[in-house]
Symmetry: C2
Subunit: 454 residues, 2 copies
């Protein structure tokens, strides 16, 4: 019999509900706090900025299953269900007894999993009569996804793109413009926050913090306008659970159940998406799967950060979030996995890690690219630099199996492809990339800045 490489679900098996893990958690995440009153955040605190349905999802701790609107499912079908793939060629190259599977989110037309939440967020904004939305983008994955989603639901979108990315990643900007979005290099003259920054520092290359401030300011000062965010928040993780829910059915088709589930980790959206549906069987059915978040060694909030209340952005405009953090003013090195350069983790992941329901590992930049190139040469797909962290972690687990002579089933999420990030591979192949180490003193010094925040 022929070996099956790709496990495909028909369209009608696209999940009809998202999975909200909070409802099943024994220890709930601690509440986000209003930055002024220090009281637990209420829906009314969120609705000026976010669509009401999204605000409700953000604070929902009781419903384990939330219906996916038909309008969203219809758009998801452009690329979903995505394939689950057995990485036979990678296994062979590693000479490992492990079975390696990956969920291929790179088949989305924007090239990453970000579209899963972008479509949902655009839909809910449109549904309540919003005409314009704003967001920020760093590496550009979220901005491209939201550009397509906004166009598909007939919304006008303004994206504040960190200036250095705007200049260094022209293809990302072109993609957003092709899908009809307005892209503004941040800091810009279009907001008070941007003007202030430019005035004080005319050559500033921008940061996610400034871009967030600009996007929020534009949303607050524009009629019928909401703000959207592509990671960290609970409702984003919720929308991403289609990844794991599909993978669960597909692993069943393959006749296996994962011993290890791995996702790269920036704000948590793709890790949560692949992990939570399987984690519910650890929580409820006594399964013993290990869940590994693979973060960059240059931004190690999960492996070396501290669990405490901190702000989600650099400027301190967001609610106080109970999180593993390196401090909201932590400035990560300019690694090419731009999507993983974030100082903190969302409330759910932080609680799960605290309760030992998951693990985290850190991956050096050079190891991530080495893994990425091996994957490209064996499985064909050039991975996004972010996803290469998950591949590196999967390879480490597979090599452990080889050492121990055990056959484990490893599943990782290939969150996206790297076709628009080839400049990074160019630099890696030319030997121009380096690792970035952080001393314990560096980390402690940065954490000391947020001591006594609450």
């Amino acid at each position: 019999m022929e070996k099956t490489k790709k496990f495909l679900l028909p369209e009608n098996e696209l999940p009809t509900q998202w999975y909200n893990i909070v409802a099943d958690m024994t220890t709930k995440p601690m509440p986000m706090l209003h930055p002024g009153t220090k009281q637990p955040l209420q829906i009314d605190d969120l609705t000026p900025l976010f669509a009401k349905d999204l605000a409700e999802q953000e604070l929902n701790q009781t419903d384990a299953w939330i219906d996916i609107p038909e309008e969203v499912r219809e758009k998801l079908k452009i690329y979903r269900p995505t394939p689950l793939v057995r990485a036979y060629n990678l296994e062979k190259a590693l000479d490992t007894p492990a079975h390696i599977y990956f969920k291929n989110e790179s088949v989305s037309p924007v090239g990453s999993h970000k579209l899963n939440s972008a479509l949902a967020q655009a839909y809910y904004c449109k549904k309540e009569g919003t005409t314009n939305i704003t967001t920020e983008t760093g590496a550009g994955q979220w901005g491209t996804a939201l550009s397509l989603a906004a166009k598909m639901f007939g919304l006008e979108l303004a994206v504040y793109m960190v200036k250095i990315s705007y200049e260094q990643k022209p293809y990302r900007r072109s993609l957003m413009q092709t899908w009809g979005a307005q892209v503004i290099a941040s800091p810009s003259m279009s907001t008070k926050a941007g003007r202030k920054t430019i005035t004080e520092n005319p050559t500033y290359q921008g940061s996610l913090g400034t871009a967030i401030s600009e996007a929020i300011e534009l949303a607050m000062s524009t009629p019928n306008c909401k703000y959207t965010l592509g990671s960290v928040l609970n409702h984003v993780s919720l929308h991403q659970t289609v990844i794991g829910l599909e993978a669960e059915k597909q692993m069943e088709m393959a006749g296996e159940y994962p011993d290890v589930v791995i996702g790269c980790f920036g704000g948590g959206s793709n890790f949560s998406g692949v992990a939570y549906p399987f984690m519910r069987h650890n929580i409820k059915d006594g399964k013993k799967t290990r869940f590994i978040a693979a973060e960059p060694a240059s931004c190690p909030k999960l492996t070396r950060g501290k669990f405490q209340y901190d702000f989600g952005d650099e400027a301190g405009y967001t609610p106080l979030i109970p999180m593993f953090t390196l401090g909201h003013n932590f400035a990560p090195a300019h690694i090419h996995a731009g999507g993983l350069r974030y100082h903190g983790a969302g409330t759910i992941v932080s609680q799960l890690l605290k309760d030992n329901l998951m693990e985290a590992v850190d991956i050096e930049q050079l190891d991530s690219f080495k893994a990425g190139v091996l994957f490209a040469q064996t499985e064909g797909i050039v991975p996004a630099p972010e996803s290469a962290h998950a591949i590196a972690a999967a390879i480490n687990e597979a090599l452990k199996c080889k050492e121990e002579g055990t056959t484990k089933t490893i599943l990782f999420n290939l969150s996206g492809h790297g076709l628009v990030d080839m400049a990074a591979y160019d630099q890696y192949l030319a030997g121009d990339l380096v690792n970035y180490s952080l001393s314990n003193e560096d980390i402690a010094a940065n954490l000391s800045k947020i001591e006594g925040l609450i």
Copy 2:
């Protein structure tokens, strides 16, 4: 019941044989001629340059079905079968009663259909003990595909990349290098042909003609080395028929049969691939499907060229090929659909067009990008500039249906995505692109140069 958007075949429905339309043609294509003797080309004329199996396929006029080796099928499964997609959103935007389907070859890890033949060619070279292969690439699609295929079958590959593309398309070069190929800007100092060109014209930006000469020279002067080509030849079209064979089964799943089948046209590889399997039912079963090759208005060999014997390359090293041609020294304008900038068509397509078994239309550059942007904004996928020509032709047919009030079923091949060609979209959105017109005098003047070639 839910509407189905994507029609998926399981892996075991991947075709086991390629379809060789020549065997079913009433009027066979005229033979290619040896440039020296002017006698019909024999296998021995081809084997110094091409793998023997490929040479046999090139000249095979009797077997309608040729087995796909298991080793090739196994690698094809990385991305095949590819989806057939109903373009509901595009239909809605056009307000047309037509049913529009597209075969999505952009899901290949190299982003285009070129991998279908690259894998087969690499396999046959490896099988006969070849260790090194060479090729040339203009726009870069073929070079990237062959790079991955060579790596997968353990061959060393040298790609001569037209110098101006090497400089203007760094992402394509990085992709080839990531997959392990050696990429040389052509003209180069590594061959006599290259050295001669550089010496005579040190600032020359290269051409496909020179790159072919260099790739052939390196193959001829290297032990255990063969040359490969990504279009025009019969064996390339043969390998591409997996596209149409899959689409045939998928159209059946959709409960429809195409009235019109469309592919963009450069050397003919993707058009042949989608068209021939359906065309056999016109030839054998009395079906009346129309087949439309969509070529760029700036390089109109099918719509305005002449049928006669001509060379396949600029320098005149290839056999004499019976083809629709603009003359082998025709210099097409620098349109962004680089893959369509070729002066002639293969022998099979040329004969089919001569016998009115197919049609051709020409598409202006600006119309192709307009169609590409509409497609990106409705169906999500940013198409390759080449594929946008097929989309434009499909839109024209769909609008005719609207005018006439007829419901036709239109199938086009989406040969690739444009994620590595965003600079072209950038220029289009900025209003920097133009159409290129050719006067009848221009065309006649160029054709006069090949008068009396045989």
